[in-house]
């Protein structure tokens, strides 16, 4: 084991951390908004069919093919190259981010749907009786209960998205995996380099697991054998 090489490699790979974090957090935020929209669409038949098809397509195909389809595929359409979107869709960063958002939305919307199903009807009726509007019920009753129910499943999704960001390295982006991949072709010391990268991802995902366990305990302490504060 060559310690100077490994510590140098850690520093080198960490320069990709901001891009990884950027893609991760923005795709989660974008995905969450889109997931909520998809669930709100499910209230009528056409909307339901659209949302169901969307989820079917994005959950049934690999993320890698979605990334390539957006990055390489969309450029083949003349009207896209002429449109105002082209400066964005030409850039691997925006293509990668878009693919991650679309993919995350499909998974998150199913998780949220599970959470929404668990909201007791009585709670919504109580809100209606006390004169709340639809938006208020959504904001103050439905969403808080649903997100609490969905939290354990969502924390898994948060970790999968961290892992998913590694795939943008295939469209030339220099995130942590991209840097590792470039370093491999320079030095051919694959095992050391890949283990360095793996350790960084592992630390972040363990922090997420800890944070979500802490949040769950805080939100419903009675489930963990503690008395209500």
């Amino acid at each position: 084991m060559d310690l100077t090489f490994i510590s140098g490699m850690f520093q080198k790979i960490l320069t990709g951390l901001p891009l990884t974090l950027n893609l991760w957090l923005l795709s989660l935020a974008g995905g969450a908004c889109l997931a909520l929209t998809l669930n709100l669409m499910r209230q009528n038949r056409i909307g339901n069919a659209i949302a169901a098809t969307y989820v079917f397509v994005f959950r049934g195909t690999p993320l890698l093919i979605q990334i390539f389809m957006i990055y390489y595929g969309l450029a083949g359409f003349g009207f896209i190259r002429q449109s105002f979107l082209w400066p964005f869709l030409r850039d691997p960063y925006w293509c990668g981010l878009l693919a991650l958002i679309l993919n995350d939305a499909a998974y998150s919307s199913e998780i949220l749907r599970g959470g929404l199903r668990a909201v007791p009807k009585g709670a919504v009726e109580a809100g209606r009786v006390s004169g709340m509007g639809r938006a208020t019920i959504l904001r103050r009753i439905t969403l808080p209960i649903a997100t609490r129910q969905a939290l354990p499943a969502y924390s898994n999704e948060v970790i999968s998205m961290l892992k998913a960001t590694a795939l943008v390295s295939t469209i030339t982006l220099m995130d942590m995996t991209g840097i590792a991949r470039a370093a491999i072709s320079e030095t051919w010391r694959a095992v050391e380099i890949l283990l360095c990268a793996a350790v960084i991802y592992l630390v972040i995902s363990m922090l997420v697991t800890r944070a979500s366990a802490w949040l769950e305990q805080r939100l419903s302490p009675w489930q963990f054998g503690r008395t209500t504060p």
């Binding site: 049934g60 195909t61 595929g73 970790i159 892992k163 694959a190 991802y201």
Partner: protein, 238 residues
Amino acid sequence: MGDIGLLGFGPDGWGLVLFRAGLMTLAVSVAAFLCGLVLGTLVAWARVGGNRVMRALAEAYTVVLRGVPDILVIYLFYFGGRQVVAAIGTALGFAGPFDISGFVAGMLAIGLISGASQSEVLRGAYQAVPRGTIEAGRVVGMGRFTLFRRVIAPQAMVTALPAMGNQWQSVIKESALVSVTGLVETMRQVSVAAGTTQEHFLFYAAGAVIYLIITTLSDQVFRLAERRSLRGHQGAGY
């Protein structure tokens, strides 16, 4: 939008090539899933019935594989496997260059990833087996292996089946990552076809459809298996 005839089975069509690539995706997925099943069973066993060291090792394995991107694991097996094979080969006096098959690297890597989540599923299924039935088996004098085969496995399988269906679905999607090793499965083949014909959207869309067909068909198979496994259960609703 390009010429849809490119996807046909004629002399200029890529249909046959894509069909073969789809079979390769299926083959590497099945191999990886079975790898994961063996590994998952062993790890679940270690976590349920192992001693302290085995439990710790099994837990570390699931935590690590859950937190590391799949593509890094595949790179590790592909490049690392090449390093190992080269080292062994040189030590044994063979002349290079050494290479490792993308199929084997992909199968092992995805098997390892899938094994981590399959072990969680299997552990949950084992814990759902009613204790009384295990005790009853022990009382009538069954050995450990017989007990597993005749009492635990049949009951745990029923519980595990829906979640195992999900595991299989993710294995299919992860198999696309094996394309980075150069194995000619669906993802790799559509990339090649897209590059050759410059019809990127058409071929990536075709690839997406191939994956959708595989995932949808296997979903049906798992549903059938689920229904079959529930025969004779009260309140199964079929």
